[in-house]
Amino acid sequence: MDFRLTPAQEEFGKGFTAWLEKNLPENWDTSRHNTFDSWEKEAEAHRRFNKRLFDAGYAGMHYPKEYGGQGKTLMEEVIVLETLASTCFELKIAGIITFGMAVPTIFVCGTEEQKREFISKALDGSHIWCQGFSEPNAGSDVVNVSTRAVKENGHYIVNGQKIWTSFAHIADYCILLVRTDPKAPKHKGLSYLLMDMKLPGIDVRPITQITGASEFNEVFMEDVRVPAEMLVGREGDGWRIAITTLMFERAVGDAVMGGLFVRNIRNMIHMARHMKRSGRPIIQDPVFRQQLAQAYIDVKILKSHGYRALSQLLKGGLPGPEGSISKLLWSESNQRICERALNMQGPSSQLMRGSPWAIQDGMWQHLFLRSKGNTIEAGTSEIQRNIIGERVLGLPKDISRVSRQKEI
């Protein structure tokens, strides 16, 4: 058992950190959460930064060179992602779907042409992807997708509506789950398409989130003609491929989020040294100290657990039981950490970004609100616990779901 990196990996990490110091955007503050004035600027910064990473040989470390990757292992990729998360997480946010879902799915399930066409353009920042799975009537029950795609003269004609589609307003492409066979059993009538977001008939309307920002959107599709070569796998394979997509973000999630939280804890300590309660620095308050320690322990659970899951993957195994709890771990610990940081601030916790007296420019207020989405996006906590209960612990499905399966 070894929690340490090999000397070569250590060296690689140092090299990357040194490179990063010279290549961050001007005036970038690595110590805290950074914001952009507009989505255009965020998307632009994301593309530019990814191009730099790509040109310097730091993009897609674990993908084969023929697709624009570096032909190294997942460990190098995690070192890069962890370092980025702890210094410039915000520069990578617009690419979460691209790198976490689209690229790995195309790499595993796509045709040779799709891999050649899309992977390197994603890695070099040319393409941003979004994920069109959820619909008004297909949330947790994503098998309920009803957006129709009918094959006609070498194209799929797509009609329907997606919702909560993050980054659709800045995306170039969409991984799209559609129904191609309405007569087949629900989960066998789905297919998986790669859709160009510039095609005629696509209407993207932003939805405002509780943070005040609009990261996600409604996407309406009317007679959108997607070329048939954009089908991933076979018709009817959509559900299997969608599950593959959802599996990927778990594998490296913990280790990467661990990187981000390390920065958050540093900020918490910084804040506690400077903020006062009854005139005394909060850092001396025994209750706060307990919470700080607990936040640190949360981060360490995430990291040690993430490394355990990652070791399994590096040895060629599938994510084991430790993989199935990753999503729960990072989402719920992020909420706890943000909650604690906000509670430290007392009445100042009300002050938003831009307000006089706002603490650390209101970054915790934003992070606190944003964290509430973590237990919903990419499979709610309840759905994760169903999966653990049923697939890991072998507990029975409840009667209503058993009878639905019989219908199918």
């Binding site: 058992m1 100290r289 320690a293 990291k303 355990r308 070791s311 040895k315 709890i325 169903n386 507990l395």
Partner: protein
């Protein structure tokens, strides 16, 4: 980086489980729970024969010199089986203190006997006013020019009923800073000036005692480690013991979870197994999350004791001690809920797991103490 068990380690786990399934079934645990002495000589001899008392001892004293992680894997299985008896006190407290700080003569006197299962030892640390702070030592050891004279009361001393010697922490200097005032002594038993009284505790699988020292005289050759520097010797020993307790709690929590999940598959109410109800299913899933998180943290802490710098080792031990032991308690509590009244009955084994877990949580620094240790390192 490779956080997986090697083939040898997986084999160790299998061996320990097989041995304990045969030699320490719940019937034995229950008998020892009620027994005054708390273990059988036959089982103790078996444990020594398996080499587990020797795992961490140096080779020149009949030891096997194995990594600390390996011992923790053994302890995890012992926790799973609720193994009763003085393994923890002898191996993780007394023997480890000798390995850490003993002179060659002291080591030669005790360690080979410990390896063979012929000598057992324990640690007398806590006092009536210590509370949850293992570093609070006030008992005096006065030097009369010739010998040290120890007087005072120690509490929560484990397994002293069967110990051949006690490592005692006592004050030899008046300094406020306990890191410069405490010394360690090896006191051989029996000694007519040492009297012991069993404490009536919740967890019967490890016996605890009050120990009274009445002008106990020991020579300079009994001082363990540097005079006045006992705390520096003891610290790493306590850290390892804390991580060892974590392993015990993880094993106990794993077994508690399995008992609950197995029951949830077969207990039918309202026409379906209770495990189909999400209130129960999610409770079980949360036990799983907690156990796996605790195991990952414990692995890190166990690895760090041998391999990381002292600060990381201390951070890891305190992080794990507070978290893993709370998990032990919460998972066994959850399991009782899933089991219903069956779980509340003396006849079902689950209460034994709760009792052991609760004892683990409070021993060698409670969660509040350890979180403060973490805060101290992080923020001063």
């Amino acid at each position: 980086m490779d956080v997986t068990l090697t083939r040898e380690q997986t084999e160790i786990v299998r061996q320990v489980r097989r041995f304990l399934d045969n030699e320490s079934p719940m019937k034995y645990v229950r008998a020892m729970f009620d027994d005054q002495r708390g273990f059988s000589d036959r089982l103790w001899a078996g444990i020594a024969e398996m080499g587990w008392t020797a795992m961490r001892l140096p080779e020149e004293f009949s030891g096997l010199n194995m990594p600390f992680v390996d011992l923790c894997l053994v302890l995890e299985e012992m926790g799973r089986a609720l193994l009763p008896g003085p393994f923890f006190s002898t191996v993780l407290l007394a023997a480890d203190a000798l390995v850490q700080a003993g002179t060659p003569a002291q080591k030669a006197k005790y360690l080979p006997g410990i390896a063979e299962g012929k000598i057992r030892g324990t640690l007398a640390l806590y006092e009536p006013d210590s509370g949850a702070d293992p570093g609070y030592v006030r008992m005096a050891a006065e030097f009369n020019g010739n010998e040290f004279v120890l007087s005072g009361t120690k509490l929560f001393v484990p397994d002293v009923q069967c110990a051949n010697f006690i490592v005692v922490a006592a004050r030899t200097a008046p300094a406020c800073d306990s890191t410069k005032a405490i010394s360690l002594f090896c006191v051989d038993l029996p000694d007519e000036r040492v009297s012991i009284a069993p404490l009536r505790t919740m967890d019967g699988t490890r016996k605890l005692f009050a120990v009274e020292f009445r002008d106990v005289r020991v020579g300079e050759e009994s001082v363990l480690g540097q005079l006045h520097e006992g705390w520096s010797s003891l610290r790493p020993v306590l850290q390892r013991a804390q991580v060892g307790i974590c392993a015990d709690s993880v094993g106990a929590a794993q077994k508690s979870m399995e008992m609950a999940a197995d029951y949830a598959k077969i207990r039918i109410q309202f026409d379906q197994p209770i495990g189909a109800y999400q209130a129960v299913k999610h409770r079980c899933a949360q036990m799983f999350e907690a156990v796996e998180s605790a195991r990952s943290l414990m692995y890190w802490a166990a690895w760090a004791q041998d391999e990381a710098d002292p600060q990381e080792a201390a951070l890891a031990a305190s992080s794990a001690k507070s978290y893993c032991c709370e998990v032990g308690t919460s998972v066994s509590t959850s399991a009782i809920q899933v089991l219903g009244a069956t779980g509340f009955s003396w006849e079902h084994d689950i209460h034994l797991f709760l009792k052991r877990a609760k004892a683990n949580e409070m021993v060698l620094g409670d969660p509040v103490y350890h979180r403060e240790q973490v805060a101290l390192i992080l923020a001063g």
